[in-house]
Amino acid sequence: MAVCIAVIAKENYPLYIRSVPVQNELKFHYTVHTSLDVVEEKISAVGKAMADQRELYLGLLYPTEDYKVYPSHMIIVYYTPVCMFFILIENILLYRHTRYGYVTNSKVKFVIVADSSNTSLRDNEIRSMFRKLHNSFTDVMCNPFYNPGDTIQSKAFDSMVSAMMVQAS
């Protein structure tokens, strides 16, 4: 389903990045990195206005010829459960591809890259993938031995990501 899944820290360095065709890893890294531009743009454009809505999905923002990049940006408050709020990025255009958005408070971003040729991928599936990713990431954060800011080396998270990738093939 997904060919590359990345979790990117607030400071924009990768917390976790994994792609399925290993030989193309570098290309995915470039793609994911560049998509951050769009994520940042979206966040700054939409950020304050939609502060209390619940959707974090940013939508398909960075399509390329070969891949669809679904970046998402999530709110996770590590330490204080005080200001848990979510931002909805509206569906920008309902045309052929719906563009989605997923935003979080801690400015941790999720990026899912899907193969463009995989046309059966629906908006809802992407959403649910993000939701799964978010939940799993929250679990990682809740691990008392995890040091926020470190790269994620969790077996559970890994297997969840693998599951999302395996569905593709």
Binding site: E11, L26, L36, D37, Y95, R96, T119
Partner: protein, 1254 residues
Amino acid sequence: MQWPLQIIYFSLFTSLYTSLAQQLPRESMEWRRSYGRAPKMIHLEANFVQFKEELLPKDGNRALLTFPFLHIYWTDCCDTEMYKASVKDDMLRWQSTLRLHGSVDWLIVVVESEAKKKNKTNILPRTSIVDKIRNDFCNKQSDRCVVLSDPLKESSRSQDSWSAFLTKLRTLLLMSFTKNLGRFEDDMRTLREKRTEPGWSFCDYFMVQEELAFVFEMLQQFEDALVQYDELDALFTQYVLNFGAGDGANWLGSFCTPVKRWSGLLLRRPIDMEKRELIQRGEASLLDLRSYLFSRQCTLLIFLQRPWEVTQRALELLHNCVQELRLLEVYVVQGALDCWVFLSCLEVLHRIEGCCDRAQLEANCSHTVGLWTYATEKLKSLGYLCGLVAEKVPTSEDLNRTVDLLAGLGEERPETVNSLQSPYKKLNEALSSVEAFEKHYLELSHAAMEMYRAIGRMRSARLIGKSLAEFYMKKGDPERAEGFLDDSLRSYVAEGWSLQVTHTRKQMAECQKLLQQTEDYLQTSALLAGDANLTVEERKHFCQEILTFASQPPAPSGEHTNTLMAAFAQLRQMQFSPPGAVVHVGAALQLELRVRCLMPVAMQVEQLAATLHFSLEQGGARGRAGSAQRRAGHGPQGQGDGVVLFPQGSPLAGAGMGASLLPALELYEMQDRSPSDSSLTSTGVVCKNMHLLLRRHDSSASLDTPTAGALPAAVAVDDGAQMLRARDITLQPGDNSILFTAPTGEPGSYTLRQLCGSVGRVQFVQSHIYPVVQYEVYSQEPQLTIEPLSDNLLAGIPQKVTFTIATGHYSVKKGDALQLSNTDSMPILHSSCCSATVLSKRMGESALSIQSSEKVTSISLPPTPPYHTLEFQLEVLCHIPPTPFKPDIERLTNGEVRHRPKNHSHADSGMINIDQKVSIDCPWSIYSTLIALTFYVPFKARHSILSAGKRKYIQVCLQNVSDTNFHLADPVLTERQPTVSMELLSLNVKTQQPVCSQQSVFCLWEMRWAKPLPLCLHCAFSASFAPVSFQLDRVSVSIRKTQKTLFFFFFPLKAEISPPSGDQHCRTGALCGLEVSITRQAEPSETEGEEEESTEIEGLRTTKLMYEVVDNSSNWAVCGKSSGVVSMPVAASATHRVQMEVMPLFAGHLPFPNIKVFKYLPHNAVPAIQPDTDSCLENDTISLLDKGLDDQGDTASIRSRGSVHSVGSGEQQRGLPMPRLEPFSPGQVFYWSQGRQVLVLPVTDDHVMEVNVT
């Protein structure tokens, strides 16, 4: 292009046509639509066409564009005859034709004209033509016939009828339109539902639905028109997707034919008729269909003022087309799609530029930049495909390919032939030559980059920059590539994307190698050699590059090439041994450095050196007293045991990771003690680097100014004079441990500044070491301290003190000796087993010889090397000075104690301490060292004199104020000046008595005397004591506690109360006599004589005493004089009697009234002692004298009065002399009658007691 609704007219009034066509769309109509769609206001426009039979639609042909919506029959017939003759038939024929074709929308217009009416006056008004027509044709549809009166005239009547006609026309037209449109849509839906049938063709359906779109467009309902196209688009897309899923439709076959033309989008025409015809004929390729569809969508979007949607959709379309062609497995010539995409991108951009002004375009870069980038990418891939990027000229194969590609473009469209910048021309030009390609490619790249920069998408801009760099590298132009690579590399490093960093760094290395930037290349190679993302082979390659360079013969100038250490190896930790990192001059200090070597192979390092910064710190001589711990655990991760840990970042992530890692918490324990008694008031943990931790972290790391450069500026090696060196080390990959010996030649503090490893010509330099690593070398003066072995030294018992000599830089030679000058009060006791301990790494003991002469005790020390500690113990004893310590006794003994002001009470225990100064001559100094030892006196003694009748006792209370328990033995009280007449009889136990800490022991002696008592006795008290822990018999040294005791023994005072004469007993209310007799028992001594104010009256020395009878319990009333002064002759047994009268106030056994006796000092007496007590005595006197006046007078007023007197001049004081009173000291007066009672009887029967019994 407009498609007005068709209205077919029959026998038209040509004069009306134009105005009718103009005026019809002027007013809008509300258009109610089926299927719940919202009503809209529309303007109807109509095309009037002359009736022809063939224009009428055949059955089933639902072409909306040519559909006649309304048929109008015009007639101006006003003659009944004529109507009946020709017009009616004509109408009937028309009607039947219409009915034949199923058209039910018709209208008959009767034009009336005044002129005609006038000519035909015979017309009956009742049966007008209109009525006839209505009668004939419009059964139940009377509105189908309209009268239009004189439309060409300007009368109000004609105006009214004209507007009514227009309204009617619009209503009917709209009705017909709605009806027909609904039918059309139904048909269309039916057609769509048949799409699963085998013969169904998308192209046919396309045409049908497009017609609907056209109609909406005609009605200016662009939104609805767009929806039609979007539906078509979605339908087609779904078919393609289904095809991909294996569900192919037959009609799709036509779209799967190989693409032969890739001429790009054409957006300049509203309708691309060529393509439309292709679609209509079913010959269109996928690209044709998509192009046509998009051109229509684009037109509508621009009508809708949504140009930015065009760009977004264009990008999606292009991506999608590429995907669809792949999915349908359509054969496309290699590069053809690139051409198509490139042309299309530019065409869309041109179209957008055509409808927007520059400001709008700049504001909406974010929408167009995607297309720019896409075009750039495609041009680049075309360039690579056609061999236009390489340094060499394109091969013939490349040229052939180019020609093929250009052929597929076809002829240039007529619209753009004249434009210089058409996409077609651009592509043609770009593919024509290497230079032209470069020009166009650079132009596009820079445009895209600038746009990205303008909208702040720095990462995208850098990515383009990087691909530009790749382009330059291919062209063999590394100078220009370097800047772009550097820029990208910086940003990747700053954001911590390791794969990109590695990849870009590899390109950078290549570039630097070409540019022959040796240092940078070495640096990059070192980084790459340690890069975990690379394969071992690659890393070895880069490592080999370094080694190759290093093994080259050194440069003529002999300079080394400097490279950053961080790439080569990482510092892990440093450990000092000894861990304190504080050593004395010349001591051995070792530093173990742990280094993680990042190279893939073992590296032979010729020298690893750390430069030291030396500073002559003031505290160098302070030695270990101060700063040992401070140095060692200095860094944030430092630990107390001399280990300095270096913070670990990922070797690659550099600053990106570094920024994300918070600095470690620096916690310190904090204790706050109160200044007065050093008790703990608060304690806590303090974070020292709070300012770093609580600083706001930028949530978006700024990309514009990447702080951590990939290659920092030149590395300078500073030449420190002092260095830590290790030679010829082999650094294995991974952790290595290197041992340095630190120089400790001079006192001061040494800071590690740089670390520098040399491999051949290459030096790896770590420009600074953080956290700060420091060690301290100190030089210490020899020191001698003397400390008691226990907490406190007690006076009177032998105790051990420890002599500690810290030799410092002085080495004790054989024969060196300490010279202690002896004092009497503190002799040094010789002990046979005296030995000195030399403390160093291993303990050594050596004998100590002590020689003592009268003045000096000499202790010869064993030889000791510098910076060692010499310890030995000596036993000392401090004699308790034979002095009473009680201040009141002090006063009586007349200042004998005054020369010992150092004795003062111990703060806590009330112990009195003695500071004993010892003066020592040390061999290392010409000056004597004075050391004070404090001894505490363990006992406190008080004495008192107890009297029992004529017997006198002396009681001595000895209180143990120390914490030690003692045995006390042999208390002895002796007279200073023994007299024969005095005998002190001990009443004490003979055995030893334990005196526990804080307890007291009382000793008692009875005094017996033969002669009259002396007035004053000087006695000394002594006792032996020893700590309980010792065997008492061992304590041969019993310490005396000497004490001067002094007492007067003076006036026995007797009082007798005698009942009134003639009565047996005293009775209440009756006066009784009180006789007080005062007897002097002994003559005062000489000293006492001074004190005792005696006056010579006629040769007889007398002492004046004042007596006073006071009864505090109001038992007695003193009648008459209650006080008086008596003169006592200074002779033994002189007795004075005083008679007074007292009256008992109560019956019963009454105690005697108190009688007080004072010494009465006359005014002229000069006080002999204690001037400091004078004023108080004087005041007492005053208060006594003034007693009658103000008994309750407060002392302040008295004092002030007294001070008035004292302030006055000496003359005045002499002129107004005041007698003084002085109380006797305890024991001087013995009250015989104390405690005696006298029976007082109540007065006889003066009162009757009544007892009532009820």
